[in-house]
């Protein structure tokens, strides 16, 4: 059940996107997300959707998998859509008592849904094609300049790496403990809110204990390998820009320039 969450999961592969440097991908994803908000015509969205679709297909990640990742946000999109449809003032198409639907409302709702879906897909493409470790490495590099003003960039990145690294471990652990306790008669699905919250105590306590134990073991293991923070630390795998970065950047930037020209000059 816990394993059904797909956002943030890495899908191994060998595509152009997989090969690109994580720094390139982070920067491009960031620009792309801003770009999504710059577009406001249906023509622009159509092109953007096509571009996103092509990117997903070229990354060799199963489309079904990507769509499954959209499920959790579907509720937010529908909820925001309903509010938009009923609250935005403009040309009325239908009204009943205090409720009224306007042409503008429907328009905004559709555009917002497209924006949200494109945002989620773009952001998850980054995590689908990049290992968590590569991501934090890239963040450390990108935030590098902040070291000058004494921000502990390396330590923050290390904490992120460890946190990401332990998500699957803790999920596994939770799964195991839930199984063990339900074999002993624990019941997580019945009773009122308070009873249900209480029924998770037998899961949370062992989970905390094991998290602390793991943290302790990890700290010992790191010290045993002489880890002392960022000072003088070098990397075995250096991040390097390569041909795939040039290709990915050129394609994306060219596409964005083209769409922007169409948006602001032609229409």
């Amino acid at each position: 059940m816990i394993r059904d969450i797909t956002i943030g999961q890495y899908v191994p592969g060998d595509s152009l996107l997989h090969k690109a440097d994580p720094r390139t991908k982070i920067i491009l994803t960031f620009i792309m997300m801003i770009f999504i908000f710059l577009i406001s015509t249906y023509w622009g969205y159509l092109l953007l959707t096509l571009f996103t679709a092509i990117t997903v297909i070229s990354s060799n990640i199963p489309v079904k998998f990507v769509l499954k990742g959209l499920k959790p946000v579907l509720f937010i999109v529908i909820f925001a859509g309903i509010i938009n449809i009923f609250t935005i003032k403009g040309t009325e198409i239908w009204s009943w008592g205090f409720l009224s639907i306007t042409y503008e409302g429907i328009n905004v709702a559709i555009k917002m849904a497209i924006r949200l879906f494109l945002l989620i897909i773009t952001a998850s493409l980054l995590t689908y094609t990049t290992t968590p470790i590569a991501l934090t490495d890239a963040i450390e590099k990108l935030l590098g300049p902040l070291k000058r003003i004494k921000v502990p960039v390396h330590e923050i990145a290390m904490m992120m790496t460890i946190a990401l690294r332990f998500i699957p471990t803790l999920l596994d652990e939770t799964d195991k403990i839930i199984k063990a306790q339900s074999s002993r008669g624990a019941d997580f699905d019945s009773g009122n809110m308070i009873e249900r919250a209480k029924s998770f105590i037998p899961v949370l306590i062992p989970l905390f204990i094991s998290a602390f134990r793991r943290a302790d073991e990890l700290a010992t293991a790191m010290e045993a390998r002489c880890y002392r923070g960022s000072e003088g630390r070098t990397r075995m795998k250096q991040l390097r820009f390569s041909g795939s970065d040039a290709v990915v950047t050129v394609i994306t930037v060219a596409f964005m320039t083209w769409v922007l020209l169409m948006e602001y000059v032609l229409f």
Binding site: F65, K179, A180, S182, R184, G185
Partner: protein
């Protein structure tokens, strides 16, 4: 038929890129009061199989019926009372302030009276050889071996008819291991419990189980009485397992002294056989 597994298929994460067939074509029938050993490599589907026995996992295809209860049904209370599963490293599931409260956890959920609970807790700690003095201690002050036994007692206290143990002695020293196996054997004999023991150790399975199920790549590779399994080590070697070491020793000895019986699977039996041969 108390345990009946029919044509069981199980798929993890169906539909995604990580889809994995964990079990296929599994058919097992187990009578009451038998001691079954399940053996196989990591990833052969042992753990997935045993989680089907109390409805934690539901078959993707096929059926699992325990004492007439199909595990696909909604209300699993009765099923979980009848089938107790002790998972790997069960001490990680302890959470209460005292050992007594922890062992009572499942019993309280069953809504038993306090007297009944006290009796069952006492019986449970005795059956795993723990002293009454631990009852009021915190489970976290105990030693590793003791924690393990408290956790097992928590399952035994539910008086299941079928007790499933997944590597109950992993990480214990030989003495702790022998003790735990001693208590399991005793439970099997005294209360005629059906025991299903999952283990990596051929030696342990050979010593304890009447019937051995060998799993390989998600299905049953062999399902035979212990004696027959180990008399054909070639079959086991095909999938990278082996007979107990002492069996190989006896085979080598037989090559030199043809009078020796080579069908021996435990060190105790080997000692007896050799003593008999030498006194002969």
């Amino acid at each position: 038929m108390p345990i009946k597994v029919e044509d069981l298929y199980y798929t993890y994460m169906g539909g995604g890129p990580f889809e994995k067939n964990a079990l296929h074509d599994v058919n097992i029938e187990i009578d009451d009061g038998t001691f079954i050993g399940i053996i196989g490599h990591t990833g052969s589907g042992k753990s997935t199989l045993i989680q089907h026995l109390n409805g934690i996992l539901k078959p993707t295809k096929g059926r699992v019926v325990i004492n007439g209860i199909d595990t696909k049904q909604k209300n699993l209370k009765e099923l979980r009372r009848q089938v107790g599963i002790v998972f790997q490293y069960p001490e990680h599931q302890l959470f209460e302030e005292t050992v007594k409260k922890d062992i009572s956890f499942g019993l309280l959920k069953q809504g038993l009276s306090q007297n009944e609970i006290d009796e069952r807790v006492m019986a449970a700690i005795q059956s795993v050889g723990l002293d009454e003095a631990v009852l009021e201690k915190s489970p976290f002050e105990l030693s590793g071996g003791q924690k393990r036994r408290v956790a097992i007692a928590g399952v035994v206290a539910m008086t299941p008819q079928i007790l499933v143990l997944d590597e109950p002695t992993a990480g214990l020293d030989p003495k702790g291991r022998d003790e735990i196996f001693g208590y399991i054997t005793k439970l099997h004999k005294d209360s005629n419990m059906t025991i299903i023991l999952v283990s990596h150790s051929m030696e342990d399975i050979a010593r304890l189980a009447e019937r051995v199920i060998v799993m390989n790549e998600g299905t049953i590779f062999m399902d035979k009485p212990s004696k027959e399994i180990y008399s054909q080590p070639e079959e086991l070697e095909k999938i990278g397992l082996s007979a107990p070491q002492v069996t190989y020793l006896m085979k080598k000895l037989k090559a030199v002294y043809p009078g020796i019986n080579e069908n021996i699977f435990t060190v105790e039996d080997a000692a007896k056989e050799l003593a008999k041969y030498l006194n002969h």
